[in-house]
């Protein structure tokens, strides 16, 4: 009797937690189902077999270790940008500037990787830190403008995006263009600044598989972010400022300081997406390398409910989309715009559901 009584609250809290989890997971799952349903309907309207569409997705995404490796490769930058947006969002800030942050960070990484010739053990951390610092500066500026002058961070991050694109474009075309080449890209970084491909270590991946160690960094980053948000003082401050800035101020936390460092942190994480491309894949800064990762990051964070693990899962899904969109285009001749348009609708459906549930509460 005694034991049962002492277990009942535990059991109840478990039930509450499971219900909470279902409530959190339901909207994203609904949106994903809606997305696939919509794709099927579009396929029927095109006079094609929707079943073929689903099997192609499955084959292209999961049929071998190599395919899975490619999905993970495509997910890597999205994990970073998704985390960056999520961290900002938890702190009550909207970081739409991931695109700009990852560009300046990528350039910083490439610059250090080209100019310093050091052993790998030193150079790799150097490059990564340079990228994170560049990204965090790019994020901190809108944060500072918000904290000091109350300027809305959304507008400023958008403006900083364009400034980053123009500045890196200028640098890569006029100053650091690879000699005797037309393409707007820098020379390659030193061997020592490159992240190894996982196919060297994992025998079941073929040599041509692009998956590199930046994916491991991304996984590590997800864990760190989870611990940071949940179990550290700073994480607590961040969430408090995001949820109730007045309470935070009353509790002796300065929301303005928090705003600046949250944006800096968010920018630093977004910068790692640039690292993944420069040090893991292209080994150089190439103009226009990101295919809107910063903006997809918003969708990733939203779908993952701004939880690090959720972000990880939804980044994998978006990585799958990126990977299979190409195959669908090749095999079924369905333009990949379908996935992009579907993503747009998916985001709108998600925010609508969120808006409704917020209003009902």
């Amino acid at each position: 009797m005694n034991i049962r009584q002492s277990f009942t609250p535990l059991f109840n809290s478990l039930v509450v937690q499971i219900l909470q989890l279902i409530r959190n997971l339901l909207p994203p799952l609904l949106a994903i189902c809606g997305f696939f349903l919509l794709c099927g309907i579009v396929l029927i309207l095109r006079g094609q077999n929707p079943w073929e569409f689903y099997t192609t997705i499955f084959i292209s995404g999961f049929s071998s270790f190599d395919e899975v490796g490619s999905v993970l490769f495509n997910s890597t930058p999205l994990i970073f940008t998704g985390l960056a947006v999520a961290i900002g969002y938890k702190g009550g800030l909207f970081n739409i500037g991931c695109e700009g942050q990852l560009y300046v960070a990528a350039f910083a990484a490439a610059w250090v990787g080209m100019h310093l010739n050091l052993p790998s053990v030193i150079l790799v951390p150097f490059c990564i830190s340079a990228a994170m610092i560049a990204g965090s500066i790019w994020g901190a500026v809108p944060g500072f403008l918000k904290a000091k002058f109350g300027a809305h961070e959304v507008i400023n991050t958008i403006m900083m995006n364009f400034i980053a694109l123009a500045v890196t474009n200028f640098l890569v075309i006029s100053v650091y263009r690879e000699p005797d080449q037309m393409a707007p890209q820098t020379s390659q970084v030193h061997e020592a600044a490159r992240l190894p491909r996982l196919s060297n270590m994992l025998p079941f991946l073929s040599q041509s598989n692009l998956l590199d160690a930046s994916f491991l960094i991304a996984c590590f980053c997800v864990l760190i972010c989870y611990i940071f948000l949940k179990h550290t003082r700073w994480g607590y401050e961040l969430r408090l400022v995001g949820n109730a800035p007045e309470v935070a101020e009353y509790g002796g936390i300065n929301p303005r300081t928090v705003t600046v460092w949250v944006m800096a942190l968010s920018g630093a994480i977004a910068g790692l997406a640039g690292v993944a491309d420069v040090m893991g894949y292209r080994h150089r800064f190439s103009d226009g390398f990101s295919s809107g990762w910063g903006f997809t990051g918003i969708a990733v964070a939203l779908l993952g409910r701004n939880h690090p693990f959720g972000v990880f899962a939804s980044a994998l899904l978006f990585g799958l989309f990126t990977k299979v969109a190409l195959d669908i285009e090749l095999i079924l001749e369905v333009p990949r715009g379908l996935f992009l348009a579907g993503q747009g609708l998916l985001i709108i459906a998600l925010v609508c559901m969120e808006g409704i549930s917020k209003r009902n509460n």
Binding site: G150, A151, G355
Partner: protein
């Protein structure tokens, strides 16, 4: 030399001006509109499809505006009826528009442009170039001199004001957002009508420049279009570029100006008080 810049300045200003007027209508009613870029893109797409199918520029303009209204309605339903996060919805609409263009690949053929009007001294321009100042003054009068404008602005200044008059805030916000869809898509139509072909990067971030102009112009039609004129001049300067200034430097000029103004370092930019806020 400055005289040579006038035609290109006017052509650069016109699409920005329409989109900025659209942005002002939406934001004055309290709905943040990041989707200007997508609305311009869908307008340009509608124009090229309509003009190609009907063989007439007017058909293109109608389809362009129609698609702009559809996209604006989507934004309005999501943000006003369902209280969706306005910034995210805007970003999503931009993604959606881009996806639609990639999916329904528009024709690359030449399409007819809108008729031009030749005036002495100034020269010959598309009629939309002349329409912009007219609409600018009209929207200034609409916003600041009519009861309609008063209600539209009341929707943006307070979540409660219209309720106390037993008017629907949502209705006026719908009005504002749909106006923004119409105006922004006209801007997109102009871009295609001007060069007669649709290319993928035809908007090229102009929606965001227009957004900058809205803020820079302090949410007023007259100042907003003036800001567009300034940005348009900068862009045409970038093309002629007599002093070999790096083009990227000229490109970022509107963005830096906007950040400075938004921070209140020069002048003062005050957004509508209830911008982005929904009644609980």
């Amino acid at each position: 030399m400055i005289l040579d810049l006038i035609p290109s300045t006017l052509r650069m200003t016109t699409p920005l001006g329409f989109a900025a007027l659209g942005g002002i209508c939406s934001e004055r009613s309290g709905i943040i509109n990041i989707a200007l870029e997508g609305m311009m893109l869908i307008g340009a797409y509608g124009y090229v499809v309509g003009a190609h199918v009907s063989g007439s520029a007017w058909g293109g303009l109608c389809i362009g505006i129609g698609l702009g209204i559809v996209l604006a309605l989507l934004h309005a339903v999501a943000t006003i009826t369902f209280h969706a996060e306005q910034i995210v919805t805007g970003v999503a609409i931009n993604i959606l528009a881009l996806g639609i263009i990639e999916y329904l690949v528009p024709t690359k053929e030449r399409v007819p442009g809108l008729p031009e009007l030749k005036l002495p001294i100034i020269g010959s321009y598309s009629i939309l170039v002349y329409l912009l100042p007219i609409l600018m003054v009209a929207s200034h009068i609409l916003l600041f001199k009519t009861p309609w404008g008063l209600r539209l602005r009341a929707a943006g200044e307070s979540t409660e004001a219209l309720k106390t008059l037993s008017l629907s805030r949502a209705k006026w916000q719908y009005f504002g957002v749909i106006l923004s869809g119409i105006l922004a898509s006209i801007g997109g139509c102009f871009l295609v009508s001007d060069v007669h072909v649709f290319t993928e990067g035809i908007i090229g971030g102009r929606g965001y420049v227009a957004l900058a102009a809205v803020i820079f112009g302090n949410w007023c039609p007259l100042y907003g279009v003036a800001a567009c004129l300034l940005f348009g001049f900068a862009t045409s300067f970038e093309i002629t570029n007599p002093w070999a200034i790096p083009e990227q430097l000229i490109k970022i000029f509107p963005y830096i100006l906007t950040m400075i103004v938004l921070a209140g370092l020069v002048g003062r930019s005050r957004p509508p008080a209830a911008l982005g806020k929904m009644e609980p």
